[in-house]
């Protein structure tokens, strides 16, 4: 079980800020594949991975990051702080 968080337009497209996901995915990319299978809104949100960033346990990482032992995965567009 992993907490999945969505921010900005990813949150808007998927329609919720956070959910618990039952998964055995080995990597972030595997988790994304599982989510895309679920519903159209997920497929839409994850249609272009180059437009997305991912954080695992609140650290920015890549889509090939392993999910073993991970509590929290977040998907969001490129950040615009400052």
């Amino acid at each position: 079980m992993v907490n999945v968080l969505y921010f900005a337009w990813v949150r808007e497209r998927i329609g919720l800020p956070k959910e618990q996901v039952e998964t055995t995915a080995a990597t972030v990319a595997d988790l994304v594949s599982e989510l895309k299978e679920r519903e159209e809104r997920y497929a839409l949100a994850f249609s272009d991975l180059t437009a997305l960033r991912v954080a695992v346990d609140q650290e920015l990482t890549d889509f090939d990051a392993p999910l073993s032992g991970v509590r929290e995965v977040a998907f969001f567009p490129p950040m615009t702080g400052g």
Binding site: A8, A55, Q58, P78, M79, G82
Partner: protein, 149 residues
């Protein structure tokens, strides 16, 4: 090192004065203030979303990186989230050092990293509709200035 993430407004001048007065062995203080910019009178407001928990970690990590690269007396980062009107202060950074070059470089570095590596997202509401502010290629490119070979 002081990292503050908050919804409520803050006074940049007061913050800067407190920061500057905290040491007497530093000769140089640089500050940057980011303000919601009015564009052609069209912007109604800006909603800033962030990632509670990761935001504080990312800002701390960026500030620690600055402290490791330059000789700094202290670093301050204050960043707001929530709904902001044009003219309101979004955030500030301040750096202090013995001589001016370190404080300037560190403030510049902090802003480049904050821009592309701190988990904030901005949505602008204008007369023409609402839109998420897109990250700029030039902001990502700016990070290359700080790569050590």
């Amino acid at each position: 090192m002081q990292i503050v993430v908050q919804e409520q407004p803050f006074d940049v001048g007061d913050r800067l004065n407190q920061f500057s007065a905290s040491r007497t062995d530093m000769g140089a203080v640089v500050s940057f203030t980011g303000i919601v910019r009015q564009v052609d009178g069209k912007l109604s407001d800006m909603m800033i979303e962030h990632y509670p928990g990761m935001t504080e970690k990312a800002l701390t990590s960026i500030a620690e990186d600055a402290v490791s690269r330059w000789s700094l007396g202290d670093v301050l980062v204050v960043h707001r989230y929530g709904l902001l009107a044009p003219g309101e202060v979004i955030m500030m950074v301040a750096t202090m050092s013995r001589h001016r070059a370190d404080a300037f470089a560190a403030a510049d570095f902090l802003m480049d990293y904050l821009k592309s590596r701190a988990p904030f997202w901005k949505k602008e509401r204008t007369a023409d509709g609402n839109a998420w502010v897109a990250a700029k290629d030039e902001d990502e490119d700016a990070l290359n200035r700080w790569q050590t070979p």
